[in-house]
């Protein structure tokens, strides 16, 4: 007997099943992370997987690979059709919740959310169109203490899920914003310079120099950027290097002060070598202003 559905006995590409062995592992990790987030005072939030398109897209357009929801019933109905799409992250829904509920939420609003996000793109190898995100955010806290607490929480999360060899690499955008004037390149090139800084570990030194010179940045400035991108490692040492690098350039002081505050906070919590400062940590260019961080496993494979 042939089965007419045979070729479709599968998940669509970019979607996958977790059979019990894998599902149990995911549950375990989610439970462990949830425990740490709760211990740090974060509260759960759930938002639907679908939002109005204009919430997701905002004033930008085009660059989103969204999955739109389309139901036959709505197509038939008279009223204006609402455009609804699956979220691509958990940050946009958080922003909507904060705007929508306003003062009904406590401040600071510390929330975590674990849930699926989606990409409406042809999946490349190893990429998924449905994937889990597990966000923790603090809304309405001005102090750098909130960032320090977040970094400290990350180290607890890694330990809780059994990753003992890891490093959290920290930088601050505040400091990066002072680069153009001090090093000597045009303000409007900062974005492109940061993109090159961001990938400096993945390209050779020659490519690094080549890409910067394509931006018509002076040889001397490139040398300075090379030096800056190499400042990384033990936190106290990085602070000393940054002070030496920037000398008495006043605009760099707020950024260095941020790192000093984070360093002291972490040290008072007994957090040492597992958190370093690294000038090559840039993160997404659209979102971030102050401290940025990234965590890596350091277990040699």
């Amino acid at each position: 007997m042939t089965n007419k559905y045979e070729k479709k006995l599968a998940t669509p590409s970019g979607f996958r099943d977790l059979l019990p062995d894998e599902a149990r592992k995911r549950e375990y990790i989610i439970e462990k992370v949830r425990e740490v987030y709760s211990r740090f005072g974060f509260e759960p939030l759930e938002t639907p997987v679908a939002e109005f398109e204009e919430i997701i897209v905002g004033e930008k357009a085009g660059d989103f690979n969204l999955f739109y929801l389309d139901s036959n019933k709505e197509r038939q109905s008279d009223g204006e059709k609402e455009s609804i799409a699956l979220r691509f992250d958990l940050t946009v829904p958080l922003a909507r919740v904060v705007s929508q509920y306003g003062n009904a939420l406590p401040r600071p609003f510390k929330r975590y959310q674990v849930g699926y996000s989606f990409r409406g793109e042809r999946p490349q190898k190893g990429r998924f169109r449905q994937f889990v995100q597990f966000d923790a955010d603090v809304v309405g806290a001005k102090s750098i203490v909130a960032d320090t607490e977040m970094i400290s929480m990350i180290t607890e999360v890694m330990k809780a899920i059994g990753v003992s060899q890891f490093v959290v690499r920290v930088n601050t955008r505040t400091l990066l914003n002072s680069l153009p004037q001090y090093i000597g390149f045009a303000e409007n090139l900062l974005r492109e310079v940061l993109v090159i800084l961001d990938k400096s570990e993945k390209i050779s030194k020659d490519e690094f120099v080549l890409e910067l010179s394509r931006l018509r940045i002076s040889e001397q400035a490139i040398k300075k950027l090379e030096e800056f991108s190499g400042i990384a490692g033990e936190r106290g040492g990085v602070i000393e290097s940054l002070k030496a690098f920037f000398g008495d350039y006043q605009d760099a002081m707020p950024g260095i002060l941020e790192l000093e505050t984070i360093h002291e906070g972490l040290s008072s919590l007994g957090i040492q070598t597992e958190v370093v400062f690294d000038m090559k940590i840039i993160r997404g260019l659209g979102y971030y202003t102050g401290p940025v961080f990234e965590t890596q496993s350091t277990r040699s494979s």
Copy 2:
């Protein structure tokens, strides 16, 4: 200042947020139910929220209010467009998994799954287009012992989530299938008779009789159906009533035997008044064959 997005600072209708107080309650309940399911040997399964349309719809057509996923990227691509939709339950994905992975799964395959399901319809008041389902199923167990275990597990779930006043009402389709011949109406009317039986608690006795007589069922048969639908309550008593009702009608024996087996199994587990037998319990007409059950809170409001 006016905000051009103001009118859309909301979830689409039929979708909702759970702010921390509610989200915490949902997490608590999910955790408690998960514990009970695990204790009974059920293992977690995760499937994606989206499936191929032909998996969801099967050979039927039309009657599904699906949300189709539509991405701009796919619209532009050359290849054949795959039709993908959000699942409307967790049972169809389970059937796919069982077919797809076959012998790679243990038998019996006892799995639970907690996840969102979707309805692509204009939501009515109090109905959601995204909602959580929490299924436990046993695949590949022939014995009525599996059903007994399931009923026992339901009582544990209710206690675990703090609902102390509840009743599980049990029936079996095996018995219902013997009704047409014994009571005296056409086989092909069984489905419609069951629909009326199913809603007999929500309509008056006169309406019950009226709806049955519209099917051109004899007055005597209607009387019998009325009597049958009233058989409900303490399990041992129901079994006696059924034996009296069916007399020596042999085709009713398998159904009665199923109920006796369930009764004995539950009694040996110390489960008494919280599980009753009730001939008005019918459940969905498409899916079920053997035992069916339904749980209600009995707390007076």
